[in-house]
Structures are given as structure tokens and as C-alpha cells.
């Protein structure tokens, strides 16, 4: 049994291919997060402004993403963009779009919460110093908010990484899709390959996500003290 694991992993370039698949999952997570955090910060700031209709629209946006499962979001983008808008992007771009919109919704709520929990005296002191609205956000509210929101943001990142497991559903060659190919190719010779390959992928996800969640927990504990 032990031999079969080693064989399956190192026959040809199987291990390298799995790592390549993992890389696909990682860069899609990083790109989605980067785009989502930028858009989410903007939406979050807009949600602290007094305009009622604006708040309402942004709230609807957030609630939509709260209700629709991520796998469904992925299919919405995957089917609707090409068929209704005639846009034919590579599947990886569509995944990034779907994930980024979702991250932006979640992050806008984190940003809003963080900005609102910066003590009022900070805002008043800034205004008393003659800061403009933009300066107030740039130098007073956002730096403090970033610190408050860091644990929740890292948590969101771990969720995005876990969600990349869905990429194979829109035929992206991610770590799971490549794992499946390897299993199918070796099924005859090594029937236990499925156990070891999926086991390996399970552990790979854990190795990426666990340090991040530990970090987020530590930061949150520090804040509560």
C-alpha cells in the first residue's frame, strides 16, 4: 500500500502537476481577494455616508450575496456572461469576477462595522483639526479601521481559499480537477490512489488555511484584551 502511494505520486510528473493545480487555486484566490478588498473598501466607505437610497442599494447588494451560495454565483457568471452578454472570458476570469463580487459584499460589511466602531472622539478631533472629509477617512478612520478589521479579513481569506475547491465545477484545472485526472489514469494499477490523492489534497488545503486561521485568532484575542 505504501509503495502505491509513492508510485502514484511520483509516476511521471504527478506531484508537480498537483502543485501546479494548487498554484492555480492560489492565484485565483489572491486575485479575487485583491479585487474584492478594493471594491469592498469603496462600498464600505459609501455605506457609512448618510444618503439613505445609497445605503439601501448597497444593503440589497450585500443581502443578495448573503442569500446566494457561492457555487450558484459561480454558475450565474459562467452561464449568463457568455449567453446573455456575449462575453467569452476564460473560466478563470469568470471565477475571479464571481469571487471578487462576493468578497466585496462581505468586506463592505466588515469595513462599515470597523469604521463605525472607531471612537467618535477620533472623528471629532480630526474635524476640529480642520481635516477635510477625505483627509479624515485617509488619516484617521481608515488606518484605525484596518487594524480593527484585520482578523475578520484574514478569516475571509481562508474562506476564499476553501471556496476555490469549487473551481473544478466550471472546468478550471485546479488542484482537485488534476487530482481526479491522476486518479482516473491510475485507477487500474493502483485502486487505492483515490484515497491517497484526495487525502493529500485535503492536507494541502489544511496546510494553507490553518496558519491563517491561527493568525486571525491570535489577532482577535489580542484585540479583546
Amino acid at each position: 500500500m505504501e509503495h502505491s502511494v509513492i508510485n502514484v505520486l511520483f509516476v511521471g510528473n504527478n506531484f508537480a502537476r498537483i502543485m501546479q493545480g494548487l498554484w492555480t487555486s492560489v492565484w485565483i484566490s489572491v486575485d479575487s481577494l485583491a479585487a474584492g478588498l478594493v471594491l469592498g473598501t469603496l462600498l464600505g466607505i459609501l455605506r457609512t455616508l448618510p444618503s439613505k437610497p445609497l445605503r439601501f442599494i448597497l444593503r440589497l447588494y450585500l443581502e443578495f450575496f448573503r442569500i446566494v451560495p457561492t457555487i450558484v454565483l459561480l454558475y450565474l457568471v459562467y452561464y449568463i456572461l457568455p449567453r446573455s452578454f456575449n462575453i467569452s472570458w476564460p473560466a478563470s476570469w469568470m471565477a475571479i469576477l464571481a469571487f471578487a463580487l462576493w468578497v466585496a459584499a462581505e468586506f463592505s460589511d466588515i469595513v462599515r462595522g470597523a469604521i463605525e466602531s472607531v471612537p467618535v472622539t477620533q472623528k471629532e478631533s480630526g474635524l476640529a483639526l480642520g481635516l477635510s472629509k477625505t483627509q479624515l477617512f485617509r488619516y484617521v478612520l481608515l488606518p484605525q479601521a484596518v487594524q480593527l478589521e484585520l482578523p475578520a479579513t484574514i478569516n475571509l481569506a481562508t474562506r476564499v481559499i476553501k471556496t476555490t475547491s469549487l473551481l473544478m465545477m466550471i472546468s478550471i484545472m485546479d488542484v482537485i480537477a488534476i487530482g481526479q485526472q491522476i486518479i482516473e489514469a491510475n485507477n487500474q494499477k493502483y485502486p487505492t490512489a483515490v484515497f491517497w490523492i484526495y487525502g493529500l489534497i485535503f492536507i494541502l488545503y489544511f496546510i494553507i488555511d490553518y496558519p491563517l486561521s491561527l493568525w486571525s485568532k491570535k489577532l482577535a484575542a489580542k484585540e479583546n484584551r
Binding site: 451560495p69 481562508t158 469549487l166 483515490v194 488545503y205 488555511d209
Partner: protein, 219 residues
Amino acid sequence: MNWQVISHSLPIFAQAFKLTLWLSLVGILGSLIVGALSSLIQYFKVPILSQLFTAYVELARNTPLLIQLFFLYYAFPVIGLKMSATTCGIIGLIFLGGAYMAEGFTGGFSGVNQTQIDNGKALGMNNLQLARYVVFPQGFALSMPALAANVIFLIKETSIFSVIAIPELTNTALDLIGMYYRSNEYLFVLVVAYAIVLIPVILLLNLLERRVRYGTFGD
């Protein structure tokens, strides 16, 4: 958008709707039980068991449900454990949800005031009584917001069951799209179906959260 296509698909979606509800319900109840148990064991630092449960919580929380399901459904038969897709789905959801619920409960339990526990001990309560009469009732109220978020999360996670061909809502929509190529219509019904499940649940949980808080702490 063709309304006739939609109305024709409604009976099929109704079946899927029921299955999603049922799977969610079983998954959530199971998760609550596993989560409460695992959190209490961690709280009272029961030797060996508490380390085991901590490892379980971290493993389950930091890996995707999809790979957990693939492992249960495709890899377990290799070591002689063959289960139906639905059984795998429920076990997977409880495995994942139990860990999330455990974290939720732990957050609440750690918020229970130390004096409450000291008083309980002074009254001569043992750990079991402390758990039953002091830690659990107060901790439960404190963990309500986290538990409520998990309930919503778990209902949405049932959509992942589609990858092992359990005919719940998402799987049904994908099947219909594959057969009739009507993506707009079926995706529309799918989103509406999730809204019908989740909006009442969200509202109900908000209400419950306030009720439990008021009932326990009076504010």
C-alpha cells in the same frame, strides 16, 4: 426569460426544495449536538478527549466541504466503507458544521463570567452540574449570533452536495440546464428558491437572537 419553461420546472424544483430543507435540518441539528458536545469537552479540558476534539475542529474548519465529501464518497469505499451519496452528504455537513458550531459555542462559553462559575463551585456543583445549570444556559445566549450565522452558512453549504449528485436545489438546476439548455430560467428559479428558504430563516433567527438574549440577561 420564458415563463412556461419556469412553470414546467416547478414540480421538479419543489422536490429538490424539500430535499434541501430536510438535509439542512438534519445537518443543522446534528451540527448543534456535535458542536455543543465538543465545545463542552474543550471547555472543561477533559483529558485526551479535549485534544482530540480540538484537532477535529481545526481539521474540519480549515478544509473545504467539497474535498471532505469527495473523500467520504470516493475514497472511503476503498477502505471498505461504502455509503449512499445522501449519507455522505449528511455526515460531511455534520462534520463541517459541528466544528463551526463548536467554535460558536466556545466563543459564548468563554464569555460566561468567571464569578458565575466560582459561585457554582462554591455551591458544591460538579462539572456536569456546572455545565448543565451555569455554563450552558448563559453561554448559549452569548453564542446565539455566531450559531445563527452558522445556520445560514450550513443551509448554503448544502449546495455543494450537487457535486456528489444529491438531487437538491443546485444539482436539480444544473441537471435541467444540462438537459434543456435554459440557463437563465433555471438559475432564476434557483436563486428565488434559496431566497424563499433563507429570508424567513434570517428573520426568524434575528427574532430568536433577541428573545434568547432578553430571556437570559433581560436586556
